[in-house]
Amino acid sequence: MKSEIGKLYIELNEEFNFYAPIKVKGNLEFKKILNPDDIVLDYYNSKVPPKEILFPKTDILFEYKTDGKNVTEIIERTDLDEKNIIFGIRPCDAHSFVILETFFAFGDVEDEIFLKKRANSLIIGIGCNTPRSTCFCTSIEGHPFMKDDMDIFLVDLGEKYLVEGISEKGKELMSRLKWLSDADRKDIKKARELYEQAEHSIETKLDLKDINKILDPHFEHPIWAEISDICIGCGTCSFLCPTCTCFDVIDEMDQYHNKGRRFRIWDTCQFCLYTLHTSGHNPRDSCIERCRNRILHKFCYYPENYNMLGCVGCGRCIQLCPVNNDLRVIIEKLNSIKTKKEEKVSA
């Protein structure tokens, strides 16, 4: 039963940090739950993606003490060993965790701050009964009911949830919840109906197959100026993207107490300062280059480097862009480069 969420919280709260969606100043956000009554279960999706749990806006790298001038002690983080439950996330956001994990593990040096938190997090996700008009997860091999990237998968049947253990970790946790009752055939049939309904409600169909092959040879193309024409460079698309990972590193010093910390803070390739050299030279000094970098990073560099798209089709960048620079339209335009080229060849 849905009312049993409180029971779940009470059972797991001791052992885990329990994250779930709550309303904060009118916005839905994933936060550590202090009172299970705050949990909101009836929602489309959060404005700020749950990536924030694993990769917070500001994330401490380490803390330190000084003698007034020089460092005397470096203090490592100890909270990364804590276990987390991330409850209520959508399949698109669960898939973003797979992308983030691939990114942070790539190369010779792994980002253990992210990876450790990720490894200690158990994901209880919910199928998306009512995708928004801006959603396009089915165009990137996702699905509103995709459960592969979760540990436990729930389907909202109205009065109750259908609960399915996916990973070993998830199954083990489920076996501890003795009060769960067996699903009957009616429940499974209803879940199947919701699955199909959700799939059919996504009207956006984008052709993203081999998009990197179209983009790669067209780094210099007039289309980038066209695409960036209305962009005001606010960075909303990247700050609220569940797969964006860029960050800045800042030192903060408390000279009165002789202590401080170094932390990372979300940054975006949409800001001109992001790439500005000390010499004054800037390799991406106009909006055209910055817009191009965002698109190419997700749809060209990600497939080339990690063999996956850097997008989950959540539609946040479309829904929240203040000037309606619609990613779906951008992709259609980019696809048209190929079509035009083919037309030319056949003519």
């Binding site: 000084t66 210099e220 990972t245 590193v249 000279q255 990372r264 390739c269 560099y301």
Partner: protein
Amino acid sequence: MHNPYIPKLTSIKDVVSENKVNDIKTLELEFQNDDDYKKFDYIPGQFAEISLIGKGECPIGIASSPTEEGTIKFTIKKMGTVTTGFHACEIGDIVGVRGPFGNGWPIEDMKGKDIVVIGGGFAFSTLRSLVVYLLDEKIRKDYKKITIIYGNRDSGEVLYQDVLEEWKKRDDIEVVLTIDREEKGWKGKVGFVAPIVKEVGPSSDNAVVVVCGPPIMIKTTIQVLEDLNFNDHQILNSLEMRMKCGIGKCGRCNIGNKYVCIDGPVFSLAELKNLPNEY
């Protein structure tokens, strides 16, 4: 846990002012922990993220050679908060070091070849590392003729005077210094780097040329090198880019799908021609 953002601590062993206007200094650092020094296994051309607690961190090319045992050196121009902080440092102060990062000069592939080192201004730091390395008595025999062409605006800007004097005395290396304008008492060449390279005319036969300097110098020099029949694989370049993490995570140093911090900073001209023109 291995937190890749925590620096290893070093103490400043020496500070050398490198130019007349005193805005470039070389810091010599000694690791506080021997084990950290042993793990800091680097080759010429790599860089490190060096930091001052409370001020911040910045990527700087390693100016010392791995053959100079015991300490590491960084040459720093006073530009912003962190580098100004470094300039205020005294012997004994503590500096954080993370690294070494990047690919470095391809010293293995360069074996058995003539090496031409072309530098301009304060970009000479990782070239100092390379030349000191090549001139080490155990290593010198692996490489053929070494030619250095090093240009500066004026004589007051010439870095590493001490090692340059030593190099000039040796007969197994040709050192050509040049400054932009005529000066009283200057014994080297006068003129921009590109025409001086043309005048020296190094042979491209079984040679590798390493170029480091301001963009305009690189551009004009490459033109001359192409006239001297150097091909794109023989011309190596070290790129600069704004960086924060040094390990390919913070995102900002990408050129296309490559990150300068992990795939570079050294690229051959052939590699650069395959990358988008965004650096």
